[in-house]
Each structure stands twice: as C-alpha cells, then as structure tokens.
Symmetry: C3
Subunit: 265 residues, 3 copies
C-alpha cells in the first residue's frame, strides 16, 4: 500500500513541481503552515475573500480547508472554494479543528463535508469522533490517544463521504474504507507546539497535489511529519527550538533519513 | 503575599491540570501566545465567532480578552464572552493593547471593563494611564517606564473595577487595592520581541485559572516571564533567538531556577 | 545616488528615532513583519478598523499597505489610511501581494494606487508586471527572476504614479523615473521563508520614515535585507534557522558588515 519509495517519489515531485496550495485556514497557524509548505517544496497561497476565492482555487493543485478560527463569512468562502475544487477536480483536505468543542464547529464541519467531495479529512481522535457521534466531547483542540472508537469513527466517516480519514495521535491512523495504515513515527513534543496538527493538514495537501491516491498521500505526509519530528527531537531544548529544527528538517530530509526511520504498518 | 513556593505550586498545577484558556486576542500574537500557553502547560483555544464564543468560554477555565487588532464584530464577541465568564465564575484577563493611542481603543477598553467583572487588567504604563486619565498619550503599543503616575493610575483602576492591575515595564508592578508587588526579573531584549506583553497576559490567564487569588496569580505570571527572559538573555544573539530560548525556558523551568532567581518585593 | 554611508545613517536614525510605522497588512505575516521592524529599531503598530484607522495613521511616520489577505472591509480601511497619510504627508509603501493572481487583487492594487500618493511600490517581478500589463500571469505569490520586461514595467509604473518601484528577486531593482539601483545582496533561502517579501516592504517603510528621498530609502532597505540574509545563510541549517538568524542580524548589523558586504550598482 505504501513504501519509503512512494513517499520519496512524492516528496521529490513536490520539490520539483512546487504545486500551488490554496489555504483557507485559521489565523493562529497561517504563518506556520505556509512555512511548512514552503519548506517541503510546495507553494502556499492564502485567500479568503468571496471576491477572489474561486479564482484562487482555480489556480491551485490542492485546497486546504481549516476551521480553526471560523466565522460565517469565511465558511461561505470555504463552500465556494470546495465547489470550485470539485469542478476543477483537485483534492480538498479538510481539518475540522475543534469539532465537538462547540455545536457551531461540529455543524460547520458537516456542512463543509456536504458542500462537495473531500479527498482527505485530517483531525485528531476527538474531532473525528465528533463528526460521527452526536454525544462526543472535545476538550478544546488538544490531541488525544487514538482509541478503537476513534478508528471505528474514522471508518464510518470514510465510508459516508468516500474520503480518506487521517487521525493524528501518538500513533497516526490513515483509513480508507477497510484499509488502514498506522504511522509510528513522531515525537512527544509535537503536541506542545501550536498548529502542528494544522501543519499535518497543510503537508497532506501538498502530497495530495502530486499523488492522487489520497490514501497513500495522507499516510506519506504523516510519515514525513513524524520523521522530521523525530529528527528535531534529537537536538532541541524545548518546544520552540523543536519547532525550528522540525521546519529545517522538512527542508533537509533526504532519502537516507526516510529509509532509515520509516515505521508504518 | 507571594513566594517562590506559591509560584512553583501554581506552575505545577498548570502543568498537571492543563487548564483550557479561551483567547480572544489579536492577529499579530495568536500563534505566539498559544505557544506560550502550551509551553507552560496550559491548553489554549482561539474562537471569536458570535455563533460559538459563549460555548467556548463555557468550556474554559479562564478568558483572555486582548484588543490589539480590534473591530466591532470582535468587540461584540468579547462582550458576550465576558458575560459568559461572569456566569461561569471564571477569571477574565483584559489586555487593553494600545489604549490611549486612539479614541476607539480607549473607549472599547472601558466598555469591556463595564461588560462584567475583570479579574486582572494587564497592560503597560501608558495603557493603564489611558484608562484613568482623559489626556494620557500613548505612542503606539510600546512599553514605557512605570512611573509613580502609572502606579497611581493602576491603584485607581484597581479600586474602580475591583480588579488586580498588572503593569509591565523594566520593573513590573502588580496592584490590588493598597497592596503592591514589584517584580524585578526581566531582560532588556523583551520589548524587542512583538507580543511579549500579550504573552504576559496569556500566561497571567493560565495562572489565574489555577489560583483564584488573582493578585498572586498576576504576580506569579510576571515573575515566570521575567525569569524565563533572564535565562533566554544569557544565550541569545538577538531578539529572534531570544524569543526561541524564552519559549523553551517556559517549558523547561524547574523549581531550581525559580528559587535562585525570583526577585520580588 | 546611494552609498554605505547613507544606509548606515538611515539605520542609525531608525534606531534612534524608533519611528512608528502603521501597518495594514496580511494575517500571514503580521507577526513576522512587526518583529522585523522591532529588530531594526522601528516601532510597529497594526490597526485596521474603520473606527480607528485614520487616528492611527495620524500618529505614524510611515504607512504600510499590504494586500496579502485582502477583503472589502480591509480595502476600505486601507483607502482611508492612504488619504490620511496624504493629508499628513507621510510616505505610503504599497505591497501588491499576488497582483495578477486574481482579478480582485489586480483591481484592488490599482484602486489603492489611485487613492492617494504612494511613495514606494514594492513587489516581485510578476506583481509589478501585473500592474501595467493586462495579460500578465502570476503563480500565487512566488517571486520570480526580474527580467527586462519587469524592469520596463517598473519604469512605466514609476512614471504613471510618480512612485519609486522596488522589485525584489535574486537581484533587486529599485527604479525611479530613469534612475535604477541594482542590489546584489541576498541569499537563495530567502524565498523559502514566508513573508520575506512582506518584510522587505515593512523595512522599506522604516527607511522611508527617516529618509524622504524614497529612492534611496527603498534601495537601502533592500540592501539591509540582503546583507542580513547573507549573514544568516552562513550559519543556518534550513529555512527556519535562517529566519531566526536573519531577524537577529537585523538587530545586530553594524557599520562593519554593511561596509564589507554592500553590493549595489
């Protein structure tokens, strides 16, 4: 299903093609996710005005929709962009940040899923559960262990929307129908840096732009995240120097580190 | 009134409980203050839409209101959040960024103070003065020396709103009624990093979430800021490497550094 | 036209006067550009609400207008700020981010240029071309080589609006009427960090605040950018450590490095 060779091939395509990724994302992480995409070799653009959102999606090779600091005007723009992405047949990656925390977020995430095809839904366990369980509870936007219940929720979600579902946690699970890839790469400091979940989403879109097997693309992005995280964790003093080293490693990663460290099943 | 033991106890509570802090703050610092809260052990969330702001405050243990890039829709959300915080009896920490610079900011800060109880008002000397003096002048959002006039303004403000007032500067002054704590920790590079005042506010909310003696909480947060700043200042090359090291130290701080360095009166 | 002595004199004025720069800029780079201005010695403020935008411009020594994440309400505020800057006779620096990518951006950039005098237009080659050529194409907000066509477009733009035009690329070209300065300083990692174009704009405004020969100011800012970039490039591991070192060098730069490294023609 996935191998180091495929991930390396995707990464090289990103670096060579520099695909334009249109991001409609939250204020907290805009800088961080743009930098992650640049580091990996993609070309980020941010635009949310109704006046231009469709034009910008029309130029892009993938679309990121992230509801981290949503408001009605932005949701309207997201819907337009998703419809344009559908018409243009480019992948949409949805990050339902904080779904389950408030009714507005949970409802909006569902509304976006119904606006058009979403290639990949990427969230943490509580967010994914909130999209299928009516009584799920989220504590803010924190990541949580990925339990069997979350994997089952991911499977339901994948089936309902014909999407790949990518659940991040100490172990990441990427689900498409009956298939599952588990990614064991990562580092415990990652949840101590804001926006690393959103970064996973941003990198997932870069991979989906060059590999239209979205199940592979989603898993490859999580593997690269995890490997860069492990490398960063070896030489940092805390979450800030970790974040700097992580971004450097997204840029520096070579075949050697990917072959040596990839831990997927 | 305050000791290293109390500060250490508060810090351990934050690290253990990971209190959820709801931040309605400015675009410039969202990433920085979320990261500061994560580094110290708290759990930040940002949400400003009228559709969800009360629900999010309802999940939180403290609320940050920061007017750094305000606009009418955001002010309306801030007022709703303050009222929800009042109903839920959680502390509100207000940062009147740029009060005195424009009439709109000064008026909005006053409007927010009247919307519900504010546990702690945290600003620089010119902002605090602007909230009580009709003819005070602010130059942008810069910090200034904390003069006797600022302390007197802080005392009036504390009395008028039954709030703790925390004034940052080369020496920080925390005021509640007739009581004052002066914090001598800090580093001259701190004003060269954008959003460190807002970071002080964000950390103050984390302390207030676990210590309902808000006078202690406000002073403890400023002491931790100052100590982390001193440690960062010892190994940096300029404001950017200072900022990275400062955030690492928020995560790394142990009892030893706090005991060795705390300078309060 | 320009010498190391003039650049050093401008830099010292910025450090001594700490001019207040009013920035109406995009969400992605607000933190980064505020920090760049602080590092170089200027005093940034961000404000976009119609209720205060004119008051804030009224306090400032220069105005930055950056359309990176524009929307109609923000454009309205930008126009008001430009008119206030005209009345107050302070320089406006316009960054037409993404002009050419969408019709909305290209039209808005033109609308802003007609709202009042713009001292300096600073963009990359494709953005500058989009402002004079009706069929120019931009791929997102990426920088491109500065071709002869871009220089010619810059000259037309300079003539039409009586502005200095500053085009960034591997070599930067600063154009005013028939005059041109080429800046050869810089580093290949610079396009791998988001917002360094916007940072160039932010620093250009700081220089324009203290040197009303805007042709000199624009070129001096690009030279400082490039020199700090070269120094940062000598000790970094990737784009993130580059960004940290770059900001440190903006703060650390002394006459020595400027004399030794300046490469302009």
């Amino acid at each position: 299903m996935l191998s180091a060779e495929i991930i390396i091939s995707d990464l090289n395509k990103i670096r060579k093609q520099a695909p334009l990724i249109h991001n409609i994302t939250n204020y907290v992480v805009m800088n961080v996710t743009a930098n992650a995409q640049l580091s990996i070799g993609a070309s980020p653009v941010m635009a949310h005005a109704l006046e231009e959102v469709e034009d910008m999606t029309g130029l892009a090779s993938a679309l990121v929709i992230n509801i981290g600091t949503l408001s009605p005007a932005w949701v309207q723009a997201m819907i337009r962009a998703i419809k344009r992405a559908e018409a243009k047949k480019i992948p949409v990656v949805l990050d339902p940040v904080g779904a389950g925390a408030t009714t507005y977020r949970t409802k909006t995430a569902s509304q976006l899923l119904q606006a058009g095809p979403v290639a990949i839904i990427r969230g943490n366990a509580s967010e994914i559960r909130a999209l299928v369980e009516t009584n799920a509870q989220t504590k803010g936007v924190d990541s949580l262990e990925v339990s069997g219940a979350a994997i089952e929720a991911g499977r339901q979600l994948s089936s309902k929307y014909a999407s790949t579902v990518s659940i991040s946690g100490p172990v990441d699970y990427i689900i498409k129908g009956a298939q599952t890839i588990a990614v064991y790469n990562g580092h415990p400091l990652m949840p101590r840096v804001t926006g690393l979940g959103c970064t996973a989403t941003a990198l997932t879109a870069a991979f989906a732009a060059v590999n239209h097997d979205y199940f592979q693309a989603a898993a490859g992005a999580m593997a690269i995240m995890g490997i860069a995280g492990e490398l960063a964790g070896e030489s940092c003093l805390g979450p800030a120097s970790f974040e700097i080293s992580f971004r450097d490693w997204l840029y520096r990663l070579s075949d050697k580190e990917i072959f040596a460290r990839l831990k997927i099943r």
